[in-house]
């Protein structure tokens, strides 16, 4: 208590120390005056009286020091002095200061923007209380370690485990036809089916109303109730609290609003923020896979299962329990669960799994951003070093009059801390800029009707990380120069202004900086170059179908309560009408389009190739698939390699047929021809399907993907509710839009049209601009890194050479020719660059391997990248060494000798 009070008094004193000094002086004067008077009264002469008074008082200065030490913080006062001194000396060289701050700010800004991304993608905890207890349960098999569970399996998990406080399940967020007013035309919103205990187990208290009751998720189709997400509530209902109890229409069925999720819970997904939540029991209306029975089929694994661990139950215990449960399921349901396990993962494990694109991009970005920061730091260290050298005499004087080495290092470090602090502020501003720019690209990245949002933001976590980063960079930048210059040799330091003592020991710092800069920037450039080239190349192969003159329009008759046959009829009539519209060359219906991204559900199909013995322990293979009608291949401009496409004559009553791509055929019939072979859907006992055509491999999911198996099934034999109409036009595809709209409205005035746009737009958006944003960022890092490295390299090399002007003058005076001088200087510079290049090449190879394995799936070394990057760096260094060397070699020796 007493010491606390003393602390605050000291703090106060620190602020008012001038007035305090004045007070002490006055008190001392008064004390001595009184003593002198008493001494005079005692009979001493005035002079002697004062002398005695002073003697009695004792050493004033040492008392003052005690007094000050008692009064305040010595360290703090020194720090204050250091700061004032540092600010003054930085002010003396505003250009250098600005350059240093800008350089560091770029490095810190790039890194903090990257941090904000990585934080959002990987580290940010779930927006629920005690989020560390929430784990994800996945089903594992030979093919995938991260499968979901079926409804039946979920019930087993929920009811037969004891490690968890609760087990919850959610389906994917899906497009749902939503009408706030039952009479209105439905619009597409993102809805998510969740288990009845979802909110309770997560610990999310509804903002209004209540969450689901367990009994509302018990009987399929019985309880049409909905909980609104916070955004939907605000936008669709203007935040009206009376929304509780109101009726809304979801996919044509009336639902009662029972609650509103709180603002703090935008959902458990990184990007998607569901507009509303429905109980799993209503799956009949929403399930994405109509060929399966959601409630019964054990292999309809659509659900993401999460659980909250009981307190004091460890992850290992939960894993053991699940292993036992999975073994039981294998025994009880060999048909569906053979060789299927279960695993428990923490949030962090889920987000850093190897196949996660976000994680891969995150790692690459962090590595690159830190490299930019490293280049910026070495750059600044180089500048500070030359600056410290210019102050050799000042530092020598300080040492000579008794400054301790530690005190001096602290003084120099204070300067770099101030620089880093300013740079940190600016860097955070740059980070804000980048994050803002990302936010502004929202519509480019997510060109969809669903509520996706970019989660990157500069929050406290990111700000703290950025500040920590600034501190680290301050130490990194400041320590080397501070150590080197405080080692100054007094005699030499006092003698010459910015000379170097003899010996080569001194230059290790600078040489290391040059090497570090060359190597890091080489790596950055390689990465940027690879990224851009890899991306370009990925756009070339497998996307070679005609992308222009195509109009898309999506439909889902379930949104307006059509049953299956009604829906099929609608599609048939629609295609008939638009096909004969003037300007339409051909029309087709398809479940998905290639490279459509988030717009579509890319399903897999399970099958067993006919005549093939399955490897033991495997029931079937799976392959990505699409369901298309007979006009698809013609309209998309994908030519059949062999066999035929689908025909009108392939109907529900004729034998089942399929088209596979080349890759598929080669994969399963490597020696022969896949044409005419059969596959069995689902398992060996499934219906045989004849392969009637072989199509070229077309990239479907993203352009980075390797050519992979693909299977097409005819729409007529496998009806699908949600389809996209594709029209190949003669002229501008958008000109067909009115005709399509009128055709749709003539069939049903209420039918919503989902994503109407040209395929070219979709393609540009999904595969060129979206990834292009990432490419741009990496490119920007490469360019920033290169610019910084070039500036730093030039600065350090040129400085090194210019410091030797005198030496060069002497050499010239005793008969060296300019060519000798040039060779000397260039040779030394090139040696350093060569070392840097060797290290940089090694790092470049490492980055290339990482990027290839993570993004491009391509092996081999991209020689062109090095062929472009290496000469560029060499050229810069040569120039940096050559220009000052030439100047030095042209200087008259008499002048050079006097040069300082």
């Amino acid at each position: 208590m007493k010491s606390l009070r003393r602390f605050f008094a000291r703090l106060f004193n620190f602020a008012t120390r001038r007035a305090q000094d004045e007070r002490l002086r006055e008190e001392i004067a008064e004390h001595i005056a009184l003593q002198t008077e008493d001494n005079i009264l005692a009979g001493l002469s005035p002079i002697e009286a004062r002398r005695q008074a002073m003697l009695k008082f004792g050493a004033i200065e040492s008392m003052k020091a005690d007094y000050r030490a008692e009064r305040g913080f010595v360290l703090l006062e020194n720090l204050y002095q250091d700061i004032r001194f540092a600010v003054r000396s930085l002010e003396r060289t505003p250009g250098l200061t600005a350059f240093v701050v800008l350089t560091l700010a770029l490095g810190i800004g790039m890194t903090s923007a990257t941090f904000s991304m990585v934080d959002a993608l990987i580290f940010r905890p779930y927006p629920v209380p005690q989020s560390s207890g929430v784990v994800t349960v996945v089903s594992t098999s030979h093919e995938s370690s991260y499968d979901g569970f079926s409804y039946r399996e979920y019930l087993d998990l929920r009811d037969k485990t004891s490690s968890f406080e609760g087990v919850i399940a959610s389906a994917e967020m899906e497009p749902v036809g939503f009408a706030a007013d039952p009479a209105a035309t439905p619009r597409v919103k993102g809805g998510m089916m969740v288990s009845g205990n979802y909110f309770r187990v997560l610990g999310v208290e509804p903002h209004l109303g209540r969450s689901f009751r367990d009994d509302e998720d018990l009987v399929p189709g019985r309880n049409p109730v909905v909980v609104l997400g916070p955004d939907c509530w605000k936008h669709e209902f203007a935040g009206d609290p009376s929304v509780l109890g109101r009726t809304v229409r979801l996919n044509g069925t009336q639902f009662t609003v029972i609650g509103v999720a709180p603002e703090t819970f935008p959902g458990m997904l990184i990007f998607g923020h569901p507009d509303f939540y429905m109980p799993l029991a209503m799956a009949g209306l929403f399930s994405a896979n109509p060929t399966k029975n959601f409630f019964e089929d054990r292999d309809d694994r659509e659900l993401l299962v999460r659980a909250r661990l009981k307190p004091f139950v460890t992850l290992a215990e939960a894993r053991n329990e699940l292993a036992v449960l999975a073994a039981n399921l294998q025994r009880d349901y060999p048909r569906f669960n053979r060789h299927r396990g279960a695993a428990v993962h923490t949030q962090f494990e889920m987000r850093t799994r190897g196949d996660d694109v976000n994680w891969r991009f995150g790692v690459i970005f962090v590595v690159l951003a830190l490299s930019v920061l490293l280049v910026a730091c070495t750059n600044v260290a180089g500048l500070l070093l030359s600056r410290a050298r210019a102050r050799t005499r000042e530092i020598a004087v300080r040492l000579a009059i008794g400054a301790g080495r530690l005190r001096l290092i602290r003084l120099l470090l204070t300067e770099s801390v101030i620089l880093a602090f300013l740079a940190g502020l600016m860097g955070i501003a740059i980070g804000y800029g980048v994050v803002d720019w990302f936010q502004s690209q929202q519509n480019v990245i997510f060109m969809t009707d669903l509520p996706f949002a970019i989660p990157f933001r500069m929050d406290t976590r990111v700000l703290l990380a950025s500040l920590a980063l600034s501190c680290v960079s301050a130490v990194v930048c400041g320590l080397v120069p501070a150590l080197e210059s405080s080692q100054s040799d007094l005699v030499n330091g006092l003698k010459c202004a910015e000379g170097d003592g003899p010996g080569r020991k001194r230059s290790w710092g600078r040489n290391a900086l040059v090497v570090a800069q060359v190597s890091t920037s080489l790596m950055l450039l390689t990465a940027a170059f690879l990224m851009v080239r890899g991306f370009r190349r990925s756009l070339l192969d497998g996307t070679a179908f005609a992308k222009d003159h195509l109009l898309m329009a999506g439909f889902d008759p379930r949104l307006v309560q059509y049953d299956e046959s009604h829906g099929q009829q609608f599609y048939k009539q629609l295609v008939d009408r638009v096909r004969h519209t003037p300007g339409v060359r051909s029309a087709t219906l398809t479940q998905n389009v290639p490279l459509g991204g988030d717009f579509f559900d890319y399903n897999d199909v399970q099958f067993v190739p006919g005549g093939l013995l399955m490897p033991p322990g495997r029931e079937n293979f799976s392959s990505p698939m699409d369901t298309v009608d007979e006009g698809y291949f013609e309209t998309m401009g994908i030519p059949m390699l062999r066999g035929r496409g689908f025909r009108d004559s392939d109907t529900a009553d004729t034998p089942l047929v399929a088209v596979v791509n080349e890759q598929f055929a080669k994969h399963y019939w490597p020696s022969g021809d896949g044409l005419g072979q059969h596959i069995h859907l689902d398992n060996a006992a499934g219906t045989p399907v004849e392969i009637v055509g072989i199509a070229p491999a077309v990239k479907n999911q993203d352009t980075f993907q390797r050519p992979s198996d693909f299977l097409y099934l005819p729409l007529a034999q496998h009806p699908v509710a949600r389809l996209t109409l594709l029209l190949r036009s003669e002229g501008d595809p958008l000109a067909l839009l009115p005709a399509v709209k009128s055709a749709v409205h003539s069939l049903d005035l209420n039918m919503p049209i989902l994503h109407t746009m040209t395929y070219e737009d979709l393609y540009l958006n999904q595969t060129v601009r979206g990834p292009g944003i990432a490419i741009k960022l990496v490119g920007a890092m490469g360019v920033v890194g290169l610019l910084l490295a070039v500036a730093g390299l030039y600065g350090v090399v040129a400085y090194n050479v210019s410091r030797r002007t005198r030496e060069i003058g002497i050499r010239m005076a005793i008969g060296a020719r300019s060519s000798d001088v040039l060779r000397l200087v260039l040779g030394k510079g090139l040696l350093l660059v060569a070392r840097g290049i060797v290290i940089g090449l090694l790092m470049g190879f490492a980055v290339e391997r990482m990027m290839n394995s993570m993004l491009f799936n391509a092996g081999g070394v991209d020689l062109l990248a090095y062929a472009v990057v290496l000469p560029a760096l060499l050229l810069v260094t040569m120039l940096a060494a050559y220009l000052p060397a030439r100047r030095a070699s042209r200087i008259a020796p008499t002048q050079a000798l006097r040069y300082e």
Binding site: K2, R5, R6, A9, R10, N13, R23, L24, E26, E27, I28, E30, H31, A33, L34, Q35, E37, D38, L55, K56, F57, G58, A59, I60, M63, D66, Y67, A69, E70, R71
Partner: protein, 119 residues
Amino acid sequence: MATLSKPKADVLQGTLALMVLKTLDVLGPLHGYGIARRIEQISGDLLAVNQGTLYPVLLKLEQEGAISSEWGASENNRRARFYQLTREGRKQLQAEAQDWQQTAAIIARFFQLKKEDWS
């Protein structure tokens, strides 16, 4: 040397602080010179030299809240800083005086002991 003189200074400071408190308790508000003179009168040579050491002690006591100070007029009508015991200071004095007396009594008893008392 430095290591030896430090604890001694601490002891001196501690006793000095107690003396300051007692002086102010008995005599009421005083300026620095007044306190120094009283202590000198009573303790003899403790403050015969180095009267200046009083001021850091005064500051410490003030920062701890045991005493307060304000400007006033000295005997010959010049500005002087007058120190005064606070309520907290009075409590502190009582507590420390008690401690001190106890300690002193124990020490005194020890020094009265003769060799035969130890056996």
